[in-house]
């Protein structure tokens, strides 16, 4: 247990103020030391309150670094979290303090926690008329104006509290509170706190990450998802994303104690923390002054306000009136400290060059304001373009093809009144409903603005304070340790564009994606190249706006829900019979059913024997089934299949092959004609969706005139294959009314009947060469029918079999399996299925390609059987086939490869199917299969090894 610290443990905590709950104390550890803070603190504010100045070290140079910002713009204070749950790398400024937090400073590189993350993550969709991003004054005004019209509004802000920059300025508490309360009253408005909109995609599709439990620490309820991705489709978007303050490049501008002026001010107002005891403020715009005044009011001694502008204007007067020393036309030229700041060097600035004597000012804190960068990241992601506004020294939004408006300081407006008016107007416009001035009245009345003193002085562009030495410690990107010297080397190497400069120096590529460094890089580079800032532009802002955890994006799409498992209606039957399963596409299919003590080979041999000698049954439900209906269904299928389908009679079945446009086999299966205008197409298990897509693609893009509709009915039927010489006996027992003779119920016919009392469609088709039936029933009757078959077959020793036995049986017959014996480079002719390719049809998909020179070559790779000389040698599937022994030196010419390889009980030997160059010509020849270091001799054979006459099919 960390010991309880006395209150002097918070030497920098102000006696009052801040939006923290001082009635409660939280304990936490940082770099192994115990500290305390309060609810409402961030890790950064708590560390500052405790006087911890150095938080991390820098990535390349190992320099000490402290807290520099206050939110997601933080470039320095990277930490790793160990408790309450592990985080590889986050910024201390975005970690809300919770009891028991354990964190460590990082040298710019994170550490992944070991092991998996048990937390839950999820995603939801939201639709709204208006999405407002950012709940500062402009965003609140926009959301209110839109909500008052009755529009569906979503307002998202990355902070736990609404108010944006108001919070950090201690401004407009009443106004903000009123706005928050009113928003809460609109049932159509959804306010998302701790929610960062991080991606802006086409058609106003935005992504946001809501952090739901992190701030609760160990008290987070386990059933609530830790983080949630919001997928938001918005009619219109109002971006009120604010602005980030910009640093200035001067010597040793990276010491702990150097901080953005706005951040220092926010620590006072939001957290009741004084950033230091004695501060210097260095500014190139008015923003340094209110920060200085606020700090002074909070008790920090302001040793000097160093204003780069010679004419500092009204604000300087205010400061002087308050007794703060102002040095206009001066600049900070360097800092000292070991490593934390102890003093600041100040010189006069003349034409951008420091001149005259150096004044050394003791200070533990240096506030910097180089001006403001509107937060245009989401706008850029949306495809928006930027322009440089020299008056504001800022890149501001220009135009965008999407339905988006940027308001407030994100658009370059810097007074509260402007922001509120801007926001309210945009909100009403976005809602696209009539909103009266009266409606907007309250909103439009801006709150009192402590920063608006009725006239300031314009900002000046100040990127770089040269000297005193080589600019090797003039940091541009603190996180990447990129200095002005690095940029100078890059421009000297011949580079003149921001993208190249970024890549040469790595500026802007770190955790903060150049939030504070991006525009500064442009400014310094423009200075070095002697070009306008506007000519150089910025690098492209890319999603995400802030880093997003992998786990949040993966959401619930994990484990069994990752590509959700599909099981058939007979899954419990298979479990009860101890099936071993195989993944086939998304399906779990029984692979084999081992009996006690059996290995796979023994089980498969037993299953094969049952099918060949008695009767066996399998679950064939996973085969794809597509209902093809319409007046042109026959025409359509004639175009897709290589053979003729339209001549099929109702009640009959035909085997067919589909090719791609290049003539290669796409899929095969049987087609049942169920009516004049209706067919049931079956596909291979893995290709069911692809074939339906294929049909739709042709129908929708090439042949929209055909009157055809297709629907997947795979799961409308459960299918049991009943196979073997005794299959007729079993079926007769269950469907006595079904004709048993082959004359009345011939091969390749189907009948609607009843099996075991259930309406069923029975097909006489065979994938084994044996007498066989496929019994199709509605899935909810499938277990009943399966068990009935098992009982009826018991006298014959009926045996369930899995996919492995199915494969052995079909391979013995030389039946190819698409995707195993084909790979997208195999024509029907190569498979010996030339008989299924119509010579008569005028056209079908793939026909033209079959006539191409290479596709028509006689020595293509053809499907043949391979018989190892040694009847027990099982050839490896995937093994290559070569013509000669011994092997020549590589590259060895290869004839083809083994696609399927099995032990056959029926043949009493092993065998394989292979695609072999000129294979049919080679029947009877000896060729070789390299296996490890040996060459296995094999003989090429016709692919049909079992019952080549087809005598067994009718039983």
């Amino acid at each position: 247990m960390p010991r309880q610290l006395p209150s002097s443990a918070h030497p920098f905590r102000l006696p009052t103020g801040g939006r923290i709950d001082r009635s409660r104390t939280l304990t936490f550890r940082f770099d192994g030391v115990a500290y305390t803070g309060h609810p409402g603190d961030t890790l950064a504010s708590a560390l500052l309150a405790c006087g911890v100045r150095q938080v991390a070290t820098s990535i390349k140079l190992g320099r000490a670094r402290g807290v520099f910002g206050v939110g997601s713009e933080e470039p320095n204070a990277l930490v790793r979290i160990e408790a309450p749950y592990a985080e590889a790398m986050v910024t201390a400024t975005t970690v809300e303090l919770c009891e028991g937090l354990v964190a460590f400073g990082l040298p710019g590189r994170g550490r992944l926690p070991d092991g998996p993350d048990p937390a839950r993550y999820d995603a939801v969709y939201a639709h709204c008329d208006v999405l407002v991003v950012g709940a500062g004054p402009a965003g609140l005004a926009a959301a209110l104006a839109a909500a008052r019209t009755g529009a569906r509004v979503v307002l998202a802000d990355e902070n736990g509290e609404l108010g944006g920059s108001l919070l950090g300025r201690g401004a407009a508490d009443d106004w903000g509170a009123r706005a928050r309360d009113e928003l809460a009253g609109f049932p159509q408005t959804r306010v998302l706190r701790r929610t960062t909109v991080f991606g802006y995609y086409d058609d106003n599709y935005l992504l946001a990450l809501e952090r739901r439990t992190a701030h609760l620490g160990a008290a987070a309820p386990a059933h609530v998802s830790r983080e949630r991705v919001w997928r938001i489709r918005a009619g219109r978007v109002v971006l009120a994303t604010g602005a980030h303050e910009r640093p200035i490049a001067f010597a040793d501008n990276d010491r702990p104690g150097v901080m953005l002026a706005s951040a220092a001010r926010a620590y006072v107002h939001r957290f009741g923390v004084a950033p230091g005891r004695r501060a210097v403020v260095f500014t190139a715009c008015d923003s340094g002054y209110p920060a200085a005044l606020d700090l002074a009011a909070a008790g920090t001694e302001v040793a000097a306000i160093v204003d780069a502008r010679p004419q500092a204007g009204l604000w300087a007067q205010r400061a002087r009136d308050a007794g703060l020393p102002v040095r206009a036309g001066h600049a900070v030229t360097g800092t000292s400290g070991d490593p934390c700041l102890t003093s600041v060097a100040v010189r006069e600035l003349r034409d951008g060059e420091p001149t005259g004597p150096v004044a050394v000012v003791d200070a533990d804190t240096l506030l910097v304001s180089g001006g403001w960068n509107p937060t245009v990241h989401l706008f850029s992601q949306a495809g928006g373009t930027l322009r440089h506004d020299p008056a504001r020294v800022a890149f501001v939004p220009r135009e965008c093809r999407q339905a988006v408006e940027v308001v407030g300081s994100a658009a370059g407006a810097f007074t509260l009144a402007e922001c509120v008016a801007d926001g309210a107007r945009a909100g009403a416009r976005a809602a696209n409903r009539e909103a009266t001035e009266a409606d907007l009245g309250h909103v439009l009345a801006p709150p009192p603005d402590p920063d608006d003193i009725g006239g300031g002085a314009p900002p000046v562009p100040l990127w770089l304070v040269p000297g005193p030495d080589e600019p090797r410690t003039h940091f541009v990107d603190l996180q990447r340790d990129v200095t002005v010297a690095d940029l100078r080397r890059a421009t000297g190497a011949g580079l003149s564009g921001v993208e190249h400069l970024k890549r040469y120096t790595t500026a802007g590529t770190a955790h903060d994606q150049g939030r504070t460094s991006g525009v500064l890089t442009t400014g310094v580079a423009a200075h070095l190249l002697g070009v306008e800032v506007s000519a150089l532009g910025t690098t492209t802002y890319r999603p995400p706006y802030t880093p997003v955890p992998f786990a949040a994006l993966a959401g619930r799409d994990r484990g069994a829900l990752h590509d959700p498992v599909r099981v058939t209606a007979l899954h419990d039957q298979h479990l009860a019979r101890d099936a071993v399963f195989e993944n086939v596409g998304q399906w779990k299919r029984p692979w084999y059913y081992p009996l006690a003590g059996e290995d796979m080979a023994a089980a498969v041999a037993r299953e094969c024997r049952a099918a060949r000698e008695g009767v066996a049954f399998m679950d064939a439900s996973t085969l794809g089934k597509i209902d093809v209906q319409g007046a042109d269904a026959g025409v359509f299928l004639d175009r897709l299949y290589t053979n003729m389908i339209s001549t099929l009679k109702p009640g009959r079945i035909r085997y067919g092959v589909m090719c791609r446009a290049d003539g290669m086999v796409l899929d095969d299966g049987t087609v049942l004609r169920t009516a004049d205008d209706r067919f049931l197409v079956t596909t291979t298990t893995g290709n069911a969706a692809a074939v339906l897509d294929w049909m739709e693609e042709w129908l929708q893009t090439e042949w929209p005139q055909l009157r055809v509709h297709c629907a997947s009915v795979t799961e409308q039927w459960a299918t049991v294959a009943l196979v073997g010489p005794r299959s007729r006996d079993v079926l007769s027992a269950l469907a006595p009314q079904l004709p048993s003779s082959s004359d009345d119920f011939p091969f390749m016919a189907w009948r609607d009947t009843r099996v075991a009392g259930v309406a069923a469609r029975v097909c006489r088709i065979s994938f084994s060469g044996e007498l066989a039936y496929e019994i199709n029933v509605p899935p909810w009757y499938a277990p009943h029918v399966w068990e009935a078959i098992a009982r009826a077959g018991a006298p014959y020793g009926i045996t369930p079999y899995g996919t492995e036995t199915m494969h052995v049986l079909r391979a013995e017959k030389g039946y190819p399996v698409v995707g195993q014996d084909t790979d997208g480079t195999v024509t029907p002719q190569d498979l010996g299925l030339g008989w299924a390719v119509s010579a008569k049809k005028r056209d079908f998909v793939g026909k033209r390609s079959h006539a191409r020179a290479d596709t028509a070559r006689p020595d293509r790779k053809q499907l043949v059987a391979l018989l190892p000389d040694d009847r027990h040698t099982l050839l490896p599937e995937g093994g290559q086939v070569v013509a000669d022994a011994p092997l020549p030196a590589p590259p060895v010419p290869m004839l083809g490869h083994i696609t399927s390889s099995y032990r056959s009980t029926a043949l009493g030997r092993t065998f394989a199917l292979a695609l072999v160059r000129g294979g049919r010509e080679r029947v009877g020849q000896r060729i070789y299969v390299p296996v490890g270091s040996v060459l296995v001799p094999v003989t090429v054979a016709e692919p049909v090894l079992y019952d080549p006459e087809g005598a067994r099919r009718d039983g």
């Binding site: 190992g62 710019g108 992944l112 998996p116 995609y201 959401g555 994990r558 993944n583 390299p930």
Partner: protein, 412 residues
């Protein structure tokens, strides 16, 4: 921080003090290369260094090597299925092995091996097939079972309880990654030093053809006459072909990639999976670099759709549970030129003097030096390099396709 340890970013190599000139285009060149990506720059380098042809311009519409070259995930391997492809990629891999020395530039070429995982019985068959073909072809290749996979990459989850358990994988030890910018800039520096003009911000807007022969190009920086023109425009090649009056069997798709924040080393190799679709390596700086499949729709915008990224993250966590609290830092997209057989088109075009190098799709980074050498040879001799012959445009007429979908399906 313990004293004395080097900061993690301290020892990465820097770029040199001089890279290239920024010349204005001349009125005419012996050879104009359209597209200043890796392939265009490599072609210029080899034209100059291997064939002594230096009156050459590389015309780039944006910034040099800012297309796919700046956007790819830098996987280099040669374990392709078919002899023709394996030969080209192995030729390139051998060049990679000497490239740092040849260019005198730190390319961060790291032969850390590439694992392609198998998750189904068919994946296993396809993998064994490819390994066997590679070995007979003289390319280093191994089939590893699940434990073997874990030995190479301990953070891969090989639990049999996984949705699609890892059944094994192919491994090419000589495969690996390199740093794309370094490669492009090294080639550019070499070409520039040999006198090649690298011209940026110069978009080719027309191709002049007279009597069936190319005579020059029109650009946003004026007309430029050229004896020969080589197209190295990746995702925009079909646009350029249309300017010259012919069509190519190419579809241009967005392909996205992303990186995490910098992390301490956890991932020693490159892992690719097709069934659990993602591929991942950890770059020298420490970021996880990952990608997956192309966006399904065709487009010329370098933007993808976000569900593709979400899907890819789910796949990444299935394979690497330890990545859960890594963060996506930056995502982006390139435009890849995809052919019907997932193999490139290299060689002559229907217009005399105009040469094609396209269709590398999702996997052309690894070919960079090879493609450049082969195209330079083809341009210099007006005769396809022997390794390019199987990749001629007319294979789409004869049907002699080199279809790499079947066994290589993740073709990065």
């Amino acid at each position: 921080m313990s004293a004395g340890t080097r900061p993690p970013g301290a020892d990465l190599p820097e770029h040199p003090d001089h890279l290239w000139r920024e010349p204005d285009p001349k009125r005419s060149y012996d050879v104009v290369i359209v597209g200043g990506g890796g392939h265009g720059l490599a072609t210029a380098h080899y034209l100059a260094r291997a064939h002594g042809i230096t009156n050459v311009a590389v015309l780039e519409r944006g910034w040099l090597a800012g297309g796919n070259m700046a956007r790819n995930t830098t996987i280099i391997r040669s374990n392709y299925l078919w002899d023709e492809s394996a030969a080209v990629y192995e030729f390139a891999l051998k060049l990679w092995e000497g490239l740092e020395a040849e260019l005198d530039y730190p390319l961060l070429f790291s032969q850390r091996g590439v694992l392609n995982l198998a998750h189904s019985l068919q994946d296993v068959r396809d993998s064994v097939r490819r390994v066997e073909a590679n070995r007979l072809g003289g390319i280093d290749a191994e089939w590893l079972d699940a434990d073997g996979v874990r030995e190479v990459c301990p953070i891969v989850d090989i639990s049999p309880a996984a949705r699609y358990p890892v059944l094994g994988g192919t491994y090419q030890p000589r495969a690996g990654i390199a740093k794309h910018d370094h490669v492009a800039w090294a080639l550019a520096r070499s070409a520039d030093a040999a006198g090649v003009d690298l011209i940026q911000g110069c978009e080719v807007t027309g191709i002049d053809v007279r009597g069936g022969r190319v005579t020059g190009v029109r650009t946003t920086r004026g007309s430029i006459a050229a004896g020969r023109v080589a197209l190295c425009a990746a995702g925009h090649t079909s646009v350029l072909a249309a300017m010259a009056g012919f069509e190519l069997p190419l579809q241009s798709h967005p392909l996205q990639a992303l990186v995490s924040e910098l992390l301490e080393p956890v991932h020693p190799t490159v892992v690719m999976s097709n069934a659990v679709h993602v591929y991942v390596s950890q770059a020298h700086k420490g970021e996880l670099v990952m990608g997956a499949g192309i966006d399904a729709y065709t487009a010329y915008t370098q933007r993808g759709a976000f569900h593709v990224v979400e899907r890819q993250m789910a796949a990444a966590l299935e394979l690497f549970p330890v990545f859960a609290r890594a963060h996506v830092l930056r995502t982006w997209g390139g435009i890849v030129d995809v052919t019907p057989d997932a193999s490139p088109i290299v060689g002559r075009s229907p217009v005399a003097g105009l040469y094609l190098n396209c269709g590398w799709g999702t996997g052309g980074f690894k070919a960079t030096p090879g493609a450049g050498a082969i195209l330079a040879h083809t341009v210099a001799h007006d005769e396809p390099h022997p390794l390019a012959r199987p990749f001629s445009l007319d294979r789409f007429t004869t049907g002699a396709l080199v279809d790499e979908h079947g066994a290589a399906a993740v073709a990065h």
